[in-house]
Symmetry: D3
Subunit: 244 residues, 6 copies
């Protein structure tokens, strides 16, 4: 089974963190192909970056599917371009936010998501509503840029821990969800430190993708995710025209 | 990895259907232990049966956990006793309704659940709300007793197909969820016949259980699922007293 | 008119508190029969106790109905086994949480429920949603075991009052709901002390039960509360088989 | 105990129907005082009539309270002026729509309200949401003017029955709620005819009012229902100035 | 284009504030007619005042429409009598709360409404839900009587600013909505002072009214806003009988 | 006042329809600048087209703002890229779906949106929820490609009218919303034909934009719409890097 894991930002070192997390949980028969987007922002922080990360993501998805991937994961916690990806691909596509929320919903009633920047808080709250977790989840921002997670000297981990402390003491969180793909390597350590479940979306998504492939479930192509019909696309994005 | 699959009704032949479905999707390293409840109703049809199936379920869960199971599945579509089970066990526990709804939510926006009897429709609608799928799911009852699914001469499969037809034509369902553990063997065939995704909760739950074990996630014991404190239980249920 | 009040835990002294509260508000023509469950936990604290209190409750309900009760009350604030009880009985059945929420909804827009243990908080929040009071009610736990309410030396009343203080000052509660049958004797006193409405579910349920009997209203037997069909129950719970 | 039942329209014959229904269920110690509004519309059909029925209602409420009523009922199914009435009075005030919805919620999960005119349907749907019954209730209009209920030759009862038939067959209603005070005399007969619960709000409100008085519960005067402060009112409504 | 702006309280000096705000934003072709209610409370503070302000409002509305107004605005933040006004008039009618919420929803995701008295907070929260802004808006009361806004020595503006400070710091408000028509003159100044959007409903409503007139949109007269049928009104309100 | 109206698809003839509708309602002091996206799909039908229309839209928005536009409108009914546009621009940005829903909410309680293709129905239902109109709006698809609206021989208008007929008769719609920018020229005619309000989002958005400019309201830059920080963008989209 081949699972495509797409980092929709253009920072290859973050793809490396994601790849490791994915491989760490993949089944013996699963091959993880982790790829970095070739165009767009080096990190996705808020609505603007997110929108401009979508073409690069879709390009990688089409390429990966054509080379035989059986499921795809979008490895950014705002589930970048998820609906467009599902319309495009025939293979199932999973976002790491929805994967993380699904995983935590099996083991806790109330939980807190800790993400990076304040400007990502409201988009994630919208995802919480979309995935039906309103009333169960709180979202906190640690006020750390995404790429600072890669720099041990940045103090980012300390800020993250301060928010986890607040989640436990003020929100009465029963579990923590890490709200950024760049935190994928921290879940096990933090779970050990805090003694409560800490969920990473990348690893959760890998197992959900394995589920869909094993069960033979693919995106329903009737309704909102129907395959785009053939159509002209103009200008710099002409290559994306479907049905060509 | 050992996964306990509990049939909370007392009909061993239905456990056999469930076991097959579970084994069919389990990973190479997963051992499926499917057990039948030793006390309570032979089928669970509505609130009354459900309530009286819980002690038998909890007994089997405690037993299975003590013998080394790493995760447990409750194989009845009303997610019988799920909250009590999570409070009791240290291992994670998954209901097949929540597992099925989770699986279908990755591949479709609107779907229909087809269950057995009208009296089960409203309890399942309550689960749909609990799991945050309100507005995405419709529930239909095929008006067939649970155990009729085991009798080819009963006409149950025909009734089930009539409701799937209605789901596709009237509800504009993008995917179908089978709303009874006794239908676990039908998903693949129906998916082939209808050409749209058909989801069975037993197989979905097996993969979700594997996810939780692989990720090291267990039920949060802080809050509603805190382990029951030691306490006297009187009368016929004295054996269930926690902390004994 | 005979009203059956069932204490679903097995502590007779708590039944005595409940009985007194019920008799104190019953109409001149109402006979209160307060009974204690014969099997299960001595107090109901969280999901596990609740599930295992249901068989004892149902046994008492069937017995009381057969001896002529015209309505029944489940005197535990988690509305233990309410749906199963409604399916079983032909007489109407009322939970004290729903009765209390109904009563307070006539006199206040925002209110706080004060219950015993933290592990009961989330189940009560689920009841608040079920009864359509989301956005109007807050739930607080005083961190007191249920049975400590019977022990003047336990300090339980002081803890309870601290939470009422917080409800008034922090939640801007307009009224207080006592979230445990074991508090039934405190409502009048606390109402006098605090100068705002304090609602007890046991007494509210008695008057609601009188309403249903007077109006000739019984549980609708069409849909989710249809009477269970005849069916075999196995093992220790065989006696509960319906239609025998 | 004295309960004031206010017909907020100005048709005395309808008050007579309401009075009979109220007396029919009142406790032995309850005195029913049914009064007719002295100013405003002869029937309340939609938002405009409703708004202009409020002053007459408030006048009657103030008068009744000053003469010793211990609780008040607003006997129109749109719960005319309920919030203003609660702010004005010290005694508890109940609307018949909320009383009916409360009563039916104890005995059925899904029900249909049958009211008079289409223009009343949407205001009642708003009340259904206000009282937290969204998803449980449907509202149907029989297309009959309110006062036609008093004229046996009008065919109004036949139209009403047609909608009840549709409610049973199309909505799968488990119970029926009569959506107009002018139908208060029909509940028992229709219940007998249809064999399922039929709820009238006037009689339900009488029993709820008895509950509040017996339990010593009055409208919370902290928050939205705080007593209006002294203030000048100009023109034709000067008499309504509070605190005079 | 003539737009009628009705101050539903009976204080002419407040109408002057409202008129100025309206004229300040009206288009070159728009004539603003600001009128004061002739009967009812001098200020609207809570449910009771609101209900008794409705007849005076409706009288002014009918009069203004008969003299050629093409749209009407109800200039009180509780959207006094909005539904009755829409049923009565053929011209479109706008409330300043809905106008303000609409305006702010185009420019912010989370905002705080600052109103006058605590007793107005809950009615405004109900409007927030009615207009679909639940989860986006917080409501704060500055604890200032409405008419104190006209008295520079009252300290009302200082109290208002304290709540704006809290909204910014505690609620993380992105924008402020002024929750009283009497604050209409403060928006621009406060916006300059605080450096974030401050929305006044009176001016927003003027532009929305211009929109409806320009687009040729009038209240739908099919359904809840159907014109009231001819009917007798008794007593002091006989003049309001429709269809006369 | 200069308002930028962006057609986010790349079909200039549709921009012409949009321009006409915008100019038809603009105030005397308003200059409408209608522009066509330079890259992406020739029509936006579903999630995939929508995502790939965003870069072209953002490019046009940045350009228009730099040349002095004071407000911008996104003239596609799925409110293409609205959040990204608000983060990018300092001027206010309005989507035509939100503008249309706002306009209709002032004049009707229940309405139906008629759009083009089935695959657009579910995205529009998500917008209905986002804008708080759930329970008030139905969405129908006429099964017509977007560009067929420009071809009189396509039969598209007839299909559209069939759905309006169904909306009136089956949905009991009080008003109709046209769910595609390409229908902007039809509103007045259809309103005349059907005798109920028909709302076009382009013209509504022009008046809302005028409102925001006149009131001095700009997108709140605190929170989710904070201006994107300087950052590298790689590959084909490097030109979009903010803060350059």
């Amino acid at each position: 089974m081949r699972i495509l894991v797409i980092n929709p930002n253009t920072t290859a070192s973050m793809t490396q963190t994601i790849r490791k997390a994915a491989i760490g949980v993949a089944g013996r028969d699963t091959e993880i192909e982790a790829v970095t987007s070739l165009m767009g922002p080096v990190s996705i922080e808020g609505y603007y970056d997110e929108a401009l990360a979508v073409p690069g993501l879709l390009e990688r998805l089409a390429d990966g599917e054509s080379r035989g991937a059986e499921a795809a994961i979008i490895a950014c916690f705002d589930d970048t371009g998820l609906d467009a990806a599902r319309a495009l691909a025939n293979i199932p596509v999973i976002g790491i936010c929805e994967a993380a929320l699904t995983a935590v919903s099996f083991i806790a009633q109330r939980f807190t998501i800790v993400t990076t920047l304040e400007r990502s808080r409201i988009p994630i709250e919208a995802l919480v509503r979309r995935y039906g977790m309103e009333g169960r989840a709180k979202v906190r921002a640690a006020d750390i840029p995404v790429l600072s997670l890669e720099d041990p000297a940045s103090g980012a981990i300390d800020r993250l821990k301060q928010e986890i402390d607040s989640a436990i003491n003020e929100d009465r969180a029963e579990a923590i969800v890490l709200g950024c793909a760049g935190m994928a390597d921290l879940a096990r350590t933090l779970q050990g430190e805090y003694g409560l479940p800490v969920v990473d979306g990348v690893s959760a998504a890998v197992k959900q993708a394995e589920m869909l492939v094993t069960l033979g479930l693919r995106t329903a192509k009737r309704g909102a995710y129907a395959t785009p019909g053939a159509k002209t696309y103009k200008g710099a994005l002409a290559q994306f025209a479907p049905g060509g």
